[in-house]
Structures are given as structure tokens and as C-alpha cells.
Symmetry: C2
DNA sequence: TTACCACATGGTATCGTTACCATAACATGT
DNA sequence: ACATGTTATGGTAACGATACCATGTGGTAA
């Protein structure tokens, strides 16, 4: 039922002034232990709850953080960004409003307006996949931090995955297992940071092990499983075929498994495989489970929130652009390639 | 920058009273077109935004809806429930606060308390998978609706998937393609509604086609890919092997693909497969794409929100328990089994 | 003794908006 | 002419919590 008690009610009940009640509620000093107890009892007995609207009205702070995204709330990929933000926010007594905007600017602007109307203290903008974003101008009216995306002019703080280290770790893992011919089905289009970074990491690892980069076993992973299947098959039929595959994402690795098995080859005995993204449902239901690289969604969310708390004061200094590590998650899809080690 | 304009400021600027401004803002009658224009101009020029805290303080309504869940925000499975709620809420000018609670009662109670402190108008409680839930007592202090879960005593409105029709559709699809031996790896434990319902649906469809229920090709799909792989293999080695599989979820179907292919069998030419859940990343990256049954997450979210809007007045009448349809999503993993049709 | 400070306490103005009341102009019906 | 109703308008008291100010106690240093 509607319980509309105010601090006046408990003040009366406890036989004190409203100010004293407020002091107890906010842990302010100058309240005798005796009265504090009385107030707490009264609160308990009447089962009173503070009205946060009134509270925030007085202080001009709303305690609201906006979480804006192109479509992250809709998709499973980056759900952990939300979790990261949420947990950090909860600890800081902030409330997160999650909204998604379409991709077009006008819709975004309207949603930002919605947040501004509610006087959010800050906005976190997250993208579903690591990419450059363009934001509506009105977002600058409130502190904003980006997660899993960035602006061309770097005018806002931003956290993105360190794709290079991810690509490096995946490749190095295969090299250390003795593989020297490692096919790479990179994500695409090639201009996006994931594709660029992972390729650099791949090359770095190869160079470290004195393996020449061979363009003929580099392909692209697109959003069409059939096409990826064909690409994988083609590489397996290469005159000098790879002994290992590095797939740009776990979904493609999954399709790759099919192609490899269809050729009568075993994983990892004949072919080793590494993926990227650590999509848990895919990774743990492949046989054998897929070794992959984790995208730091949770960490980006946490970083973004904490950045927002700081952001308040500092202003025109260069906004930080954070690269967050991508750890390797090892499972059973990589095996030693002893013949090569022997050479 | 901090822009602390109030309706007083625009009242002054427009040369009218604050009441008139408020009337314009809320589309109330009794404002001349002339003054309405002046006010709108002033709002535009000063780029004023309403303070929702003050607004809600006055009206006692906070416009807040709490979305509570055991772990849905953490997992990709039921993300669409959120989307359903969110979109309905946005249209109704409500703000959704998403929070997750652990499984234990004390944590839940604390999180509900957090929501109550903020005077939410209602709570939607969602579960990650369809199951019975127990809720902390304090949740009854505010209208609450359940999505993808239910209470033993049915004391709150609830929307759950119609598992029976789902199981029926999946099985019927295989029967219509001519299959008569259909292995079923049901979800488990057997006491959960998903397992019970789908089994009933499976039996119903068999009965309709005069096929006897054969316990020897019924198994369980557990959260261990290896074990499911073994189960699938075992069924394939059955003296009278199935020509089709109905897997209790897409993850298990995915593992099933591996087991079937490892036997040198083709999908769908030799073996037809149907899944359950419509987990998009799995469904569309299997080769061939998996025919499956959709869980109505989005619809449950929408239903729950709309129910909350109604719930306000009605009280002790029996709270509705809604069964929501599970449509079949057809892809390429099912093929005609003409031999059987010929018999 | 006086002056000053730390602690304790409550009254009240205030935050920005809207509900309510009061006022006024003008039209309509009797 | 007068009562009654519709439209327009603005002043002001709430809403509930907190910041600020005022007051009062007791203790300690000068």
C-alpha cells in the first residue's frame, strides 16, 4: 500500500526535531547516542523510507547516470559492459538508466535529450563492437565517457580493448605450441580497429618467432557462416596447408570446426584452433572447448564509470584513452606440433 | 556547463506567470495561443530543461520501474526480456532501473529495499530460465509482475513460455518431414517446467502421428558438452537408430552436430535436427543453420510491463498467469525422410 | 570570572514544480 | 439586467529533505 511517511512523522514519533532525523539519516555528527537510537527505532517501527526525489531536489544532484548504446542492451555480446557499470554504480549509490538509440543521429539526439531532461550527472556511451562513433552535439552538455568505442578527435575519455595484444597472445600461443603455418581469418572490414589491431599482433608474434608473413593463408571472417566455411575449406586445401587457425571471432571458429571436421581432420590432433571474443556459449559447447581471447567488456564498464566520477572537475586537459588488456583463455583446441619443433 | 534555469526564469523572459509556463509544459488547457508561443520561444532560447525531481516530488509519482533479476543482465540468454520492458517503458515515459540480485534471499531483499527507497512504482522480476522463484517479502509493498518465472502460490501476475506448444511444434515439424524415430535430449532436471512441458509436447505430437513413445531414445541435455556428445553418439549407435534429433536447447544441438558429423553422417541428409531457444549466434553459425523454437523473451517483457500499468487498481482478484507462444524458426537442418512416407 | 569552543538540538527557508485558489474578461441564457 | 459558465491568467501553498541559522549546554583556558 502507499506508505507516505515523512521525516516529520518519525521526528514526532521519536520526540525530536526533523533536523535530528536528517542528521541520523546522513551520518552527520552532533547527535547524542540516545536520540540516534530513538530515531532508528522510530524508522524501524513505522517502516519509513526516504524520498529520494525530495533529497535530490534540494541538492541538485540526481544520482542518475545514463547508459547509452547503439544496441548493446539488445545483444548478448557486450552485456558485460553493463554489468561492469552497474556494479560500480551500485557501490557509489548511483542509479543507471540504460537506453538504446538507433544508429542514426536524430534518434540518438532525442535519447540524449531524454537523459538531459532527467538531469543525469553523466553519460556512458557504449558500442556493441569496438569502433569509432559519432555523437550528437547535445551530449557534451554533461560529462560523458565512452566504452568500447572512441571519437575521431578523442575529445572524450574512452576505454577500448587492446586488440594488438589480443592478436599477439592468440598467435603466440600457437607458435609456442610449435605451429609455424597459422592461417588467420581476420574480422572485417579491414579498416576497423579490431581488424587492424589483431593483424598487427599476429604479425608481431610471427616476427618474434622468425616466421614469414604469408598472405595466402590470410582471409576474412564475415557475417555469413557459409562463406566462412568455404574460406576455411579453401585454406585446408592449400598446397602447403596450415596446421593451425586463428579465427577473428568465436562464431567463425565454430563454423571453422565444421569445415575442419568435414575434411576428416581432428581438433586439436591435426589442426589447432584459437578464437577471439570468449563467447561463453560457443566456447564451452564446442568439442573440444575453444581456446580464445577475452574481450574486456566488464573492465571497460568499470573503467568508464570510475572515469565519470573523476571527470567532474578536470576539464580541458587531454581526455584519457585507455587500452584494456585482452587475456588468453586456454582450453583444449590447441595441441603441440612436435614435428616442427624438431626441425 | 551547469544550467540551472527554472520555470521562473522562462516565466520572466516570456512575460507570463509560472503557472502558465507549467500549463504549456504539461499541455493543459486555458492558455492563449499567443502566450503559448512566447513560452515555447523562451524555452528554446534559454535552452531550459524541466527538473524531474521537483516534478515527481510534487506528484509523489517517481516514474521509476524496477527491473530485478537473478542474473539476466549478466547473461545473454534473456536479454530480450529487458528490451521488451524497455521499449514499452520508453513509450510510457517511465524509466527502468535494471538491477541484479544474487540467488540468495538476503541479497534479494537488500536490492528490493534499494528499489523501495527510490519509490519505484512497480517491479518486474525476471528469471534467466523458466522456473519457480521465491521472493523476499518486502517486494509485496509495491506492484510486482514476473517474467519467465512464477510463484508456487501464483500470488503475482506472471508470464512464462508455453513450453508444451514449443515441444509440440518442434516434434511435429520432424514428423511432418516424415521422421518416425525422433531422439529427444530434453533439458534437465526433469522437474523444471521446460523439461516437463517440452516432453508433453513431444508426446502429444507423436500421438497425433500414431508413433509410439520409445524411452530408449530419450536422454538429458546437461551443462557439460562432453556428456551430451556421448549421449548423442550413444543414440546414433542404437540398434534401431533415430533419423532425427530434437535437442532441448541450441547449445546441446551444437554439440550434437559435432557428434553426428564425427560419425560421418550428414545434416540434414542423413539426420535431421531441431533445437530450442533460438540463440542467434549458435543458430546462424551452424552449418547448416539450425531449425529451432523461439523463446518469447521479448514478448514476456512487454506483457510484464503492460500488466504493471494495469495492476495499479485491481487487487485481490486472481493474478493472471500468461502462457506465451513459442514459434518455430525454420532453417535448413530438417529434411524430408521419404522412405518412411512411402511405407 | 569571562571568553571561547565543542557538542547538541530544533526552527525555518529553500530547492523547482504543480495543484489549488482567486481574479477577471467576456459570452450566453433567462 | 443579472446570474451563470467558459476561458485566461497569475499568486501561492504545498511536496519532503536538507542547509543554514539560532540557541543552549557544559567544559576548559586565560
Amino acid at each position: 500500500m502507499s506508505n507516505n511517511l515523512t521525516i516529520k512523522d518519525i521526528a514526532k514519533r521519536a520526540g525530536v526535531g526533523t533536523t535530528t532525523v536528517s542528521r541520523v539519516l546522513n551520518d552527520h555528527p552532533y547527535v547524542s547516542e540516545e536520540k540516534r537510537q530513538k530515531v532508528l527505532e522510530a524508522i524501524d517501527e513505522l517502516d519509513y523510507r526516504r524520498n529520494f526525489s525530495a533529497r535530490w531536489l534540494r541538492g541538485t544532484e540526481t544520482g542518475l547516470i545514463g547508459f547509452l548504446t547503439d544496441e548493446v542492451a539488445t545483444t548478448p555480446y557486450a552485456v558485460d559492459i553493463i554489468r561492469g557499470v552497474q556494479e560500480a554504480a551500485f557501490e557509489n549509490e548511483k542509479v543507471v538508466m540504460i537506453l538504446n538509440t538507433g544508429r542514426d543521429m536524430e534518434a540518438s539526439e532525442a535519447v540524449v535529450e531524454f537523459l538531459l531532461e532527467r538531469h543525469v550527472e553523466g553519460i556512458i556511451y557504449a558500442a556493441m563492437f569496438h569502433r569509432e562513433v559519432k555523437l550528437p552535439q547535445n551530449i557534451y552538455q554533461v560529462p560523458t565517457v565512452l566504452a568500447n568505442c572512441f571519437l575521431a578527435d578523442r575529445s572524450l575519455p574512452s576505454a577500448v580493448p587492446d586488440e594488438v595484444i589480443g592478436g599477439y597472445r592468440a598467435t603466440k600461443n600457437l607458435l609456442e605450441a610449435g605451429h609455424r603455418r597459422i592461417a588467420f581469418l581476420n574480422v572485417c572490414p579491414p579498416a576497423i580497429p579490431a581488424a587492424e589491431g589483431r593483424l598487427i599482433g599476429y604479425k608481431q608474434a610471427l616476427a618474434e618467432f622468425d616466421v614469414l608473413f604469408d598472405k595466402s593463408i590470410i582471409g576474412v571472417a564475415i557475417e555469413d557462416a557459409k562463406a566462412n566455411y568455404v574460406t576455411t575449406t579453401r585454406f585446408l586445401e592449400h598446397p602447403n596447408p596450415p596446421t593451425a587457425f586463428f579465427f577473428g571471432n568465436d562464431r567463425t571458429a565454430m563454423t571453422g570446426y565444421s569445415a575442419i571436421m568435414a575434411k576428416g581432420l581432428r581438433i586439436p590432433e591435426d589442426i589447432s584452433v584459437v578464437g577471439f571474443d570468449n563467447q561463453i556459449d560457443i566456447v564451452s559447447n564446442l568439442i573440444p572447448r575453444l581456446t580464445t581471447v577475452q574481450l574486456p567488456h566488464y573492465e571497460m564498464g568499470q573503467w568508464a564509470f570510475n572515469q565519470l566520477l573523476l571527470h567532474d572537475d578536470e576539464d580541458d586537459i587531454m581526455p584519457p584513452q585507455e587500452l584494456i588488456d585482452c587475456p588468453l583463455i586456454e582450453h583444449e583446441s590447441v595441441a603441440e606440433k612436435t614435428e616442427y619443433l624438431a626441425t
